[in-house]
């Protein structure tokens, strides 16, 4: 433990670690030093000059954002000279600022407004003509209004350092300086909007949100992003029951402020015109709208018939529904419908990892671990495309802690650029490729291994054996595709494993087998689209619950319109096995949550007396699912809860695992109904594959 440094700020004594900046030291004792260009986690700029402070024995004012605390330093921020300097900087920033606050998207949440209010002068002395430049559109997502820009370079740095993309730069000089895409007039980037979110003023605005509403007209609800498995918290702004935007400015959640295009701008799918809002029932070969009563009665009748006849029933669960829904569905199937024909579209071999690590505590890496581990190994995955948060964490770890990154993939990935070593292999050669790294990895203090679907079945155990052979602490992440892919496996939506990967005595049919089985009386598909590009399965009755009339729903006998992740409460488990809380953001007319649908059916069929709420199911999960003994109150309060693999966890011996290989701009069925994802160009693919 290095010796602490004691300094004085505005008469308050503070002790900080060596290397601490004065601006950070001041924050510790409640002294707020204003700044624009200083941004935690990014490189230092010293450009805006807002943070000038007086330091004893230094003749000039110093920028607190670049000044490292030294023993005995005496800093003052409350002097007339400092107040006057701040007033001067605000005055400078406002000289060419258009002051179009009444129509600016940032009005009401603008750092320049706040600074002018707190530190600025009441009057302007600037009589000259303001320099005007027309607004530019750089992509469907990003618009730039130079006159509003205060040139703090946060956008340039977050794109280069945070995202590892480096799409932005500065052109011209002096008062004509502008932020500009490095490709000239357009962006070829992740379209993540980090530059827009980090912009302290309204210079960068988004194509989705601009001129739609004022910040204070919205309600903001923090929930978990509905797309990939990384489980970013996104705070959705809602105006008149429409989701307007997403961001995570308060840095709560395991993603801090990170979000990709999906978390920020793709949350409009609940309002898509193609959204189902009434049940559909097949009559004379055509699907026609029906009432919930009619549709549920029909489903009830078919299930009762099948049960009475002892005919097999198949159930296909979802990568998107909540843990409560998944748990309840498997209970419905196994306990009440007496069937083990239960599966979901598996995108990563979690059961194999559960079995390989069964009972070994502390071997599952958390999202935080990716930022703190001394070394990270990526096997067979393009994280920047499929797991942007994990990619961000690893990049931040490399930048801030000089972590060493190792890559074994079949093609170039973004991690190559800062990897200690990258190994290229032929498809299927990943395990073999690892051997080349063994010696280097043995020298690391600890390691996190992330692996995609290239490693599955027996290979997962081999990978863990390789990890064990290194003689260092190793943690793992089994990469899966969607928001609750991990939860679907954990909750036992598998033909041969129950919740917590407990082996079943009589394994059921896999998804593939169910789709081919001619004897199924009922095939019940919840929030999945397995029939894309396929014929109707031979089952006698096909029930589908979904948001949209997917390829699968089109073939159904009954379609029940389901609520999306943004329309319900519950929990989901991310790729790292962290359980987080979903909060209901909007209500969409006509739909029901999957849990409501299951529960109503269960009541009608006499399996239970009253419908259950999600909290009741969550408590049951916490009690009954091995590895899920989590703190429900903490979870409800918003803290991610870590899970582990229980000692009796077993590997699934049946069925294949296949990632959908979505890119940053696709996300299975859901991605097709997010406006922005259909507008952006697939530039990243071109960038990172070449």
């Amino acid at each position: 433990m290095p010796e602490l440094i004691r300094l004085t700020i505005d008469g308050r004594s503070v002790e900080v670690e060596p290397g601490t900046l004065v601006i950070e030291a001041a924050r510790r004792v409640g002294v707020k030093i204003p700044s624009f260009c200083y941004y935690e986690g990014l490189s230092l700029a010293g450009a805006c000059r807002m943070c000038l402070v007086e330091v004893e024995k230094m003749p000039k004012l110093q920028t607190a954002c670049t000044l490292v605390a030294t023993p005995g330093m005496v800093v003052r921020t409350d002097t007339p000279q400092v107040a006057e300097a701040r007033r001067a900087m605000v005055e400078f920033l406002l000289t060419n600022h258009p002051l179009d606050c009444p129509v600016c998207d940032k009005g009401g949440e603008c750092e320049l407004q706040d600074m002018a209010f707190r530190y600025g002068a009441a009057e302007s002395r600037y009589l000259e003509a303001k320099h005007h430049v027309p607004e530019q559109q750089w992509s469907p997502v990003v618009f730039y209004d130079r006159p509003r820009c205060i040139l703090c370079y946060r956008c340039v740095r977050v794109c280069d350092e945070g995202m590892g993309v480096g799409a932005l730069g500065v052109v011209n000089r002096g008062g004509r300086s502008e932020i500009a895409p490095n490709r000239g007039d357009h962006l070829e980037c992740d379209e993540c909007g980090a530059c827009i979110d980090i912009c302290p003023v309204g210079a960068l605005t988004s194509g989705m949100y601009r001129y739609q509403t004022r910040p204070w007209e919205m309600n903001h609800v923090g929930t978990i992003c509905a797309f990939c498995a990384d489980g970013c918290k996104t705070t959705l702004g809602v105006y008149h029951d429409r989701i307007m935007r997403g961001n995570n400015r308060d840095r709560s959640g395991l993603n801090g402020e990170f979000l990709c295009i999906k978390g920020r701008y793709a949350a409009d799918f609940p309002h898509h015109p193609a959204r189902l809002s009434r049940p559909l029932v097949r009559q004379d070969g055509e699907l026609r709208p029906a009432s919930w009563l009619e549709a549920l009665s029909l489903v009830e009748a078919r299930l009762r018939e099948a049960l009475a006849a002892g005919s097999p029933i198949g159930v296909i669960g979802s990568n998107h529904t909540t843990n409560e829904e998944n748990y309840f569905l498997q209970k419905f199937a196994r306990q009440w419908l007496k069937t083990n024909h239960l599966d979901h579209q598996r995108t990563g071999d979690v059961p194999a990892l559960a079995s390989a690590l069964a009972g070994r505590e502390g071997t599952l890496a958390s999202t935080e671990d990716l930022y703190t581990a001394r070394a990270v190994l990526v096997v067979g995955a393009d994280l920047a495309q499929q797991h942007p948060l994990l990619s961000w964490q690893i990049r931040a770890n490399w930048r801030h802690h000089r972590a060493r990154i190792y890559v074994v993939t079949t093609g170039p990935v973004r991690e190559d650029r800062y990897a200690a070593r990258s190994v290229r292999v032929e498809p299927g050669g990943e395990l073999e490729g690892l051997l080349a790294l063994a010696e280097a990895l043995r020298a690391e203090p600890d390691l996190v291994i992330l692996f995609g679907d290239a490693i599955q079945g027996e290979d997962v155990a081999r990978l863990v054996a390789f990890g064990d052979s290194l003689g260092i602490p190793v943690k793992y992440v089994c990469l899966v595709d969607y928001a609750n892919s991990r939860g679907a496996a954990d909750m036992g939506l598998l033909p041969d494993l129950g919740p917590g990967y407990q082996p079943l005595e009589r394994p059921g049919m896999t998804l593939e087998e169910m789709l081919e089985c001619p004897d199924l009386a009922v095939l019940w598909v919840v929030g999945a689209n397995p029939l894309i590009g396929r014929q109707r399965p031979p089952s006698r009755f096909l029930l589908v619950q979904d948001l949209f009339l997917t390829e699968t729903a089109r073939l159904a006998d009954v379609v029940l319109p389901a609520a999306s992740a943004y329309e319900k409460d519950g929990t989901v488990t991310n790729v790292c096995g962290e359980v987080q809380r979903l909060r209901k953001v909007v209500a969409v007319a006509g739909v029901k949550t999957d849990l409501e649908i299951f529960s109503l059916l269960a009541c009608r069929m006499g399996f239970q007396k009253d419908p259950v709420g999600w909290e009741t199911v969550l408590r049951e999960i916490a009690d009954a699912v091995p590895g899920y003994r989590l703190s429900v109150p903490a979870l409800l309060a918003g803290a991610p809860q870590r899970t582990h693999f229980a000692s009796q966890a077993s590997s699934s011996r049946r069925g294949k695992v296949r990632s959908a290989r979505d890119t940053l701009f696709t996300s299975g069925t859901l991605g097709r109904f997010a406006t922005i994802l259909s507008q952006v160009r697939e530039a990243p693919g071109a960038l990172y594959r070449g």
Binding site: L44, A45, G46, A47, C48, R49, M50, L52, P59, K60, L61, T66, A85, A88, M89, E91, F92, L93, T95, N96, R125, Y126, L127, E128, H131, I150, L151, G169, V170, N172, R173, G174, G175, R176, S177
Partner: protein, 434 residues
């Protein structure tokens, strides 16, 4: 501009080869003690070289006047990184044109100075960062470098000593800011020419993040005489703490404008009236900017002082880069101030707030005043804006713009008021009565 004969008051040391035939060639250079200093340095330890430079009281000729020997001693010689020697040939300060003559007439002295620096810090590569407008000098330098290579004075195993060192020219693209040492390094590395955060200073983290000696051309050119004749001899030419001679570029309203090599501490009035032949047309001296356009202006009555770093600092100005700009009584000080500020507004790199916005603001207000469109309070705005920039910008460019603005309005306030009120200013009075 080079006159056929040196002025009798000149102490010809750095300029001693200027008037020789074919002075830029290695033949002339070798015939006049060329590379003797380097040969001597090869026999010295790095510590001895730095000690000799320290003894000379040589201070950086770029403008800031930092002691050169001290600067070299900051380079960590035991660092495992490669070290670099960089010559700042971006001579961009208005009123300054001395490095240009050194490179034109005596390029080998620059190379030799860099070689000695390389020997002192164990560098293997050197760069001459030269302003783009000096294209014709790049050819001269490249020829000199090629000559030196052919004579085994650059390249591998120099003069059989085992020392490897080579020099490359690198052209700037027309930015004043790239004369600031860290912006120069950014530009040298192919990046946008904006200054870097300091510390770390170039001595520990300069070109490509490696320890770097970075000096002005004239500074490097001063090194061979120091090594050859000893630091004390060089120091003895100037005043205490201000060693050696200095190349002064005298421009403006004088009869014989030009570059003159004079000992440090030479009297400014003598410089104007004797060396530069007096004020043009026998007019009255009005003001002098003593060290390039960024230095606070001196009124005529303030000019009886020795030209060294410390005396000028005491007079509230700076020796700067040695560009002496002389203005006679016909000069409109509002126009002069506006012209200077338009330069800085154009050359501000735009990186930090007060310089980017302040230089534009000052240039606009002063230009309005110059053209008779002043408004009440404009002079106070100029004063406040300049004060708000002073000492608060990221690099010294903000000060370079604020100091002339402040000194012009402080020392010639009447003329600004006259422009504001529509009266003839002092310069116009002179014109009226001529």
């Amino acid at each position: 501009m080079l006159h056929p004969e040196p002025h009798p008051a000149e102490v010809v040391l750095l300029t001693r080869r200027f008037r020789l035939p074919d002075s830029a060639s290695i033949g002339t250079y070798l015939a006049t003690e060329g590379y003797q200093a380097f040969r001597k340095a090869l026999a010295m330890t790095p510590e001895e070289i730095i000690e000799e430079v320290k003894k000379s009281n040589l201070r950086g000729r770029g403008g800031a006047g930092f002691p050169t020997g001290l600067k070299w001693s900051f380079v960590p010689r035991n660092s495992p990184k490669p070290k670099y020697v960089v010559a700042n040939a971006d001579e961009g300060e208005p009123g300054t044109c001395k490095d240009r003559l050194l490179m034109q007439y005596d390029p080998h002295s620059l190379l030799e100075g860099m070689l000695i620096a390389a020997r002192a810090v164990d560098a293997r590569a050197g760069y001459i960062y030269i302003r783009g407008e000096y294209r014709y000098l790049i050819e001269i330098l490249d020829r000199a470098i090629e000559e030196a290579r052919r004579h085994g004075l650059l390249g591998r195993n120099i003069l059989g000593s085992g020392m490897d060192f080579d020099i490359y020219t690198h052209s700037g693209a027309g930015s004043y800011e790239c004369g600031e040492e860290t912006a120069l390094l950014e530009s040298l590395e192919g990046k946008r020419g904006v200054p870097r955060l300091r510390p770390p200073f170039p001595a520990t983290s300069g070109a490509f993040g490696c320890p770097t000696v970075l000096n002005n051309v004239e500074t490097f050119c001063s090194v061979p005489p120091i090594i050859l004749r000893g630091g004390l001899a060089f120091a003895g030419l100037g005043t205490p703490k201000n060693g050696g001679t200095r190349l002064f570029a005298i421009s403006g309203h004088v009869n014989r404008p030009g570059v003159y090599e004079l000992p440090m501490g030479f009297n400014l009035l003598r410089m104007i009236h004797e060396v530069a032949g007096g004020v043009r047309g026998g007019r009255k001296l009005k003001a002098v900017i003593p060290g390039g356009s960024s230095c606070p202006v001196l009124r005529a009555e303030e000019c009886d002082l020795p030209m060294d770093f410390d005396s000028l600092a005491r007079a509230g100005s700076m020796l700067g880069s040695g560009g002496v700009i002389v203005m006679d009584e016909t000069t409109c000080m509002v126009k002069a101030a506006a012209r200077i500020l338009r330069f800085y507004a154009r050359e501000s790199c735009g990186f930090c707030t007060p310089c980017r916005e302040g230089t534009q603001w000052l240039a606009q207000v002063l230009t309005r005043l110059e053209r008779g469109h002043g408004q009440r309070g404009d002079v106070e705005v100029v004063r406040d804006v300049a004060r708000n920039m002073l000492g608060r910008t990221f690099c010294p460019l903000g000060d370079a713009a604020a100091m002339p603005a402040l000194s012009f309005i402080e020392k010639f306030r009447d003329e600004f008021e006259a422009h504001l009120e529509g009266r003839p200013c002092a310069a116009e009075e002179v014109a009226l009565h001529a």
